[in-house]
């Protein structure tokens, strides 16, 4: 199964050595700065499933002066699973499912105003791209922030190119219909 997998991300974070749930959540949010933050509940549930499946195991407890925390470490099976997942090719866009695309198609079907929608969406995309560019070019931006901003910028840019082409096609279509 290939998906944005919390299991594999936690296994990846455990590859550096034993860690407890709180620490894994913190490190996840550092490494994936523009991602939705992991919920604690999700971290603990996922760790329990990794233990159940033999991919991770308990490595004792650590109190460090505070409350007692369970430490986890990856097993050999966990390392193999991680390597397998990390090297497996992600299917290149097997389905075209996207909200923007769907809205344009539906607007055309319903004789609504797809061009007006595209203009408004473009403004929102550009506003987000300006924010991400500021994140990326801030002095001292860390690598994780730069990589995640790059990723988002390139995807927003791809959306924009499609939206520009679509807007141009719609203009041509409208002109042809009007001329007929």
């Amino acid at each position: 199964m290939i998906s944005m997998s919390t299991r594999h991300i936690l296994l990846g974070l455990l590859a550096g050595g034993p860690s407890h749930g709180y620490d894994l959540k913190r490190r996840h949010d550092e490494r994936f700065p523009q991602a939705r933050p992991l919920a604690y509940g999700q971290v603990y549930t996922t760790l329990q499933r990794l233990v159940r499946d033999g991919l991770a195991e308990v490595d004792g407890t650590d109190s460090d002066g505070g409350p007692e925390r369970t430490l986890y470490r990856s097993t050999d099976d966990g390392s193999r699973e991680l390597a397998h997942w990390a090297g497996e090719i992600a299917p290149p866009a097997p389905f075209v499912t996207n909200e923007i695309f769907a809205k344009v198609v539906v607007s055309i079907l319903a004789s609504a105003d797809p061009a007006g929608y595209l203009r408004a969406q473009r403004a929102a995309h550009m506003a987000r791209m300006r924010e991400l560019t500021a994140v990326k070019t801030a002095p001292g931006a860390d690598l994780a922030s730069v990589l995640s901003a790059d990723y988002a910028l390139n995807h927003l840019d791809a959306d924009l190119r499609w939206m520009n082409t679509t807007a141009a096609r719609l203009t041509t279509l409208t002109a042809e219909v009007d001329a007929a």
Partner: protein, 245 residues
């Protein structure tokens, strides 16, 4: 809001019988970074040429710091282009026979700075653009990204009020383009230089504070940084009164 540093009103310009601008209006404020976007043939470069005093519009006005640029005698225009404006094109247009440091020093020499001082300042600007160590190279011996950063250093070396950049990253790969853009934006912000940035690349336009979009020679939309997306969408649908006046 303060008066714009550069204000163009209802610019019309044709190349032969082909209209390039059909009533374009745009403001550039001091220290602002403005992106001008639009499809090929929308009039972006002609707008830049009119604003920079490189060509005169057929009709319409261009006002720079209180002076009517479209009416200035050629002598005063060249002086302004030397002292107040810096220009960068897609292909840097460096002088191939000159080394990097001499290319950058050239505008200073033209302005009467003694040679040693000019080369010293040029060296400092090469450093700001991350191309220190390339002083003795000629354009043909540099990568495209390095050459473009030398062009940017040359555009900024005289401390201009406005830098006009026409597709400055158009010939560069994405990382080299990013280095050139980051250097340009940081330097412009530090020195309070306004930048008019012509681009068809959304990732380049995203460096700007504000964006105006051209279609068929007129400004059709305007967006500003910090405006909420919904609000920006509202103004994006229709040309603003200011832009179309």
């Amino acid at each position: 809001m303060s008066n714009p540093l550069l204000a163009a009103r209802s610019l019309v310009k044709a190349h032969g019988s082909t209209p390039a601008l059909r009533g374009a209006s745009v403001d550039l404020r001091a220290g602002e970074i403005l992106a001008v976007t639009g499809a090929s043939g929308s009039g972006k470069s002609t707008l830049l040429h009119c604003l920079a005093g490189i060509v005169r519009p057929d009709t319409g006005t261009v006002e720079y710091a209180g002076e009517r640029l479209d009416r200035l005698p050629e002598k005063r225009l060249s002086e302004l282009r030397r002292t107040d404006f810096g220009v960068v094109f897609q292909f840097g247009q460096l002088i191939p026979e000159l080394t990097a440091v001499d290319n950058v020093a050239l505008p200073l020499l033209l302005a009467g700075t003694p040679r040693t001082a000019a080369r010293e300042q040029a060296g400092e600007w090469l450093e700001r653009f991350g191309v220190r160590g390339q002083e003795a190279l000629r354009p043909g011996e540099m990568s495209g990204g390095q050459a473009q950063r030398v062009s940017l250093a040359r555009a900024l070396v005289t401390g201009p009020k406005v830098v006009f950049a026409d597709e400055p990253t158009g010939a560069l790969d994405s990382l080299a383009g990013e280095q050139a853009m980051t250097a340009l934006i940081h330097t412009a912000r530090e020195s309070g230089t306004a930048v008019l940035l012509i681009t068809h690349d959304a990732q380049v336009a995203a460096y700007a504070d504000r964006e105006v979009s051209l279609r068929d020679g007129v400004v059709t939309a305007e967006w500003a940084a910090g405006a909420p997306a919904e609000g920006a969408a509202g103004t994006a649908a229709e040309p603003s009164a200011e832009a179309t006046r």
